[in-house]
Every structure is written in C-alpha cells, then in structure tokens.
C-alpha cells in the first residue's frame, strides 16, 4: 500500500495538504472530509460533508510545517467508511460515543480552551460507551505567534465555526475491518518519585510524593521541571498517558496543566528526551502502519522537538493542542488504523 503521507492522485486515500480551491472542489463533489487549517482558509469553504478545526501546524512526509491560509490539511473520511456528522455542546459530550456506530468510531474536533475541552478532559473515560464505540480526535488550536486568537471547530454541514462545540464525524467501518487506535509516546517515567494527586483537575495544588504531602508548584521547582518540556506520565493500566505543564508560577504556588491529573493514578515526571525527532523515528520504526488512515501529534512535541522541517516518519496529520484516544492525551501521537 502506498504511504498515506502522500497526497493521492492515483486512487489512494487523500491525507495531506491541498490548495483551498481543490478542497472546495472536493466539497462540491460531495466528498466526506476531515479538514484542518487556518480560520481564514476554513471560512472560505462552502457547506458540505466536512468537519474541521483550526491549526496552522502539521506533520507531513517532508517534515513539520506551518502553513499559510492558501492550503488545508485534508483527510478523505469516505475512504475509511460511511460518515455522518454532528455537533455537541459541553452538556452533550457523552453522545459523541453514545451516537457513534456499533462498528466504527467517532472522530472529534474540540476547540482548545473551551468548556467542551475541560468537560471532555475530565469525564471522557467515564462516558457509558467510551470503550465500546471509541472516540479519537484532536484539540484545535491557533497560531502561537498570535496568542489573542481563538481555536475553533467547524460544522461543515452549515459551514459554521464554533468556539465551544465539538464537531464529530461518526464513521461506520465494516466489522471485518476493526479500527485500531494506537499511540506513540516518546516519554517514559524517569524512575524516580511516584506522584499522586488528591483530586482530578488541571490545576492541582497539592500532591503526595512518597506519602509526603507537598505543594505541587514547590515540588515542580524542587525537581527543576518548571520549563515544561517534560510531562507527567500517568500509568493507566500500563498505558503511558501524559499531562503536560502549561504554566508554573512558583511565587503564586500554582501549576496549570494541559490535561487533568486524576486521583488514584500513579504519575512520574518523564525522563529527559535528548532528540524528539530521533525518539519518534525509533518508536515509529517498530509501529505497524498498514491501514493507517489518520493521525495527529502534539504542538509541544512540534515546539520542544523543533520539528519544523524535520521528518519523523509515520502518518501525516495536524499538530494539535491536545490529542484524543478514548480520553484527552498530551505530547502524544495518535494513529488510527484499519485492521
């Protein structure tokens, strides 16, 4: 099979950057699409069978790219299965998986910083159908050179951008082709302290380290981790689930995370990673990509790993303000394959 990194003109599925005018043609032709790009480009699109989110950052076969508003990242969902579209507000999020097909998955785009983002992050794993009808997707973002911008999710059926709704493509996949959801996390626990938290949240004030209660901000500084390049790594039944540091204010004694921590989960700081790109390349060498149809990776990996212009292998996709594989993840690549 040809790599899904490539933009296809030979019948293989589209998963790459295309000029906006070409995307408009695909929409007018009735294609079912997942799109990503700058707001100025997405606002040009006609109504049709698509969802989208804002991000100017992408991983492509040739390396990381920051795009302008003349191109969009396009994934042809019709090549994966039959697609229906929906949007949900923050009080309806369990319907993302609840309304998903029995055979298939939900692909969701959630705006960064929205109430939907917070609600999903804290509750996704407890939605009744979360593990029977899996949700994958990404947290949309914006150009960090323009921090006054907002993140959006788009309902293509009405060509409308939302700051606080989740856009979802429900994809029915034949039972003979089960979706496989995989993550590539280059971070591993550093082998030092095991950290526990008393309650779930993005701004933990206290933590338990070796049974000793400490103010978390003080502990972060004590460990020299206030730079934020190394996430907390949580042990979720053996899966490594990161929660990345957004801000550390030692004076105020506050820490804000990009994903919540949970009570009852063992966390550790990640061991240092010298070369992110090499870490991904090595991890991806052992990863099967036959049947890979969609992927995303984290903005923090893009930035701390200096991945602009650097190829890491794997599957092309948006670079995001959070990743979704059943629940919210940080600093992780997510891949969907058809088995």
């Amino acid at each position: 099979m040809k790599s899904p990194n490539s933009i296809a003109s030979d019948g293989t599925p589209i998963n790459g950057l295309l000029p906006v005018d070409a995307v408009i043609d695909l929409i007018k032709a009735g294609a079912s699409l997942s799109l990503a790009g700058r707001k100025a480009a997405l606002d040009r699109l006609p109504a049709g069978r698509w969802i989208a989110g804002t991000s100017p950052y992408f991983m492509t076969a040739d390396g990381g790219r920051i795009i302008d508003d003349d191109v969009l990242f396009v994934t042809d969902l019709g090549s994966i299965g039959e697609v229906t579209f929906a949007t949900y507000d923050a009080d309806q999020l369990e319907r993302i998986s609840g309304d998903a097909p029995d055979s298939g998955l939900a692909l969701a785009v959630i705006p960064a910083g929205s109430r939907c983002h917070t609600e999903f992050a804290q509750n996704a794993a407890s939605y009744p159908m979360a593990f029977l009808r899996p949700t994958v997707g990404w947290i949309s973002g914006y150009d960090l050179a323009h921090p006054d911008e907002s993140a959006y999710a788009y309902d293509g059926q009405v060509a409308t951008a939302y700051e606080d709704r989740v856009a979802v493509a429900h994809i029915t996949i034949p039972e003979s082709e089960s979706p496989v959801i995989e993550i590539v996390n280059i971070f591993a626990p550093d082998g030092g302290d095991v950290i526990r938290f008393e309650e779930a949240g993005f701004t933990p004030e206290w933590c338990l380290v070796g049974g000793e209660r400490k103010r978390f901000a003080d502990y972060v500084v004590e460990r020299g981790r206030e730079g934020g390049d190394l996430p907390l790594v949580g042990d979720f039944g053996g899966a490594r689930v990161n929660a990345s540091l957004k801000t550390v204010d030692a004076q105020a004694g506050t820490v804000e995370l990009y994903a919540p921590v949970f009570a009852g989960v063992d966390y550790s700081f990640a061991a240092p990673v010298g070369d992110y790109a090499d870490g991904f390349r090595k991890a991806l060498e052992t990863q099967p990509f036959d049947g890979a149809v969609w992927s995303c990776n984290c903005i923090l990996n893009f930035l701390f790993g200096q991945l602009e212009g650097v190829a890491i292998g794997g599957v092309a996709g948006p670079v995001t303000f959070g990743e979704v594989a059943y629940q919210l993840l940080n600093q992780t690549m997510v891949v969907i394959r058809k088995d």
């Binding site: 794993a125 407890s126 029977l132 899996p134 089960s178 979720f236 039944g237 053996g238 009852g264 989960v265």
Partner: protein
C-alpha cells in the same frame, strides 16, 4: 479460545480485581482497566461491562482472551 459465557465466574473475578493482572498492550483495554479500577460501580455492573467489552473486541484481543481463565 472462545469467550466464557456471560454467566461464567470469570467475569466476576475480573471485576473484583483480576483485570488488573491482565497482561495487555491494547490501548483501549489498558484504559478500561484503569477506568474500572477507579469506578465506584458495583462488581456486577463492572462484570457486565467487561463481558460486553470482550464480546465487542474479541477479534482484536486474542492474547487477552487466552489469559481470562488464569486471572
């Protein structure tokens, strides 16, 4: 190996702590293990959820299914 029937004691054992001993690298299964560990639901409800999960993903969980009677 085929799945034990829903009435099998296997599911109750899994719901009462056995699932934490399952060796798996399957992401969804790993996350489900943690969800159930943290859940206040009664064991019977957890057993039903585990059974339904294995029925749904049996084809992808051959290694895990092979362990069920040992847990």
């Amino acid at each position: 190996m085929s799945l034990p029937p829903q009435g099998s004691a296997v599911w109750g054992r899994l719901a009462s702590g056995g699932l934490s001993r399952l060796q798996t690298s399957h992401l969804g299964t790993q996350m489900l293990i943690k969800r159930l560990e943290l859940s206040p639901s009664p064991p019977a409800a957890k057993a039903t959820e585990i059974y339904n999960y294995f029925v749904k993903w049996e084809r992808s969980l051959a290694n895990e299914v092979a362990q069920l009677n040992r847990l």
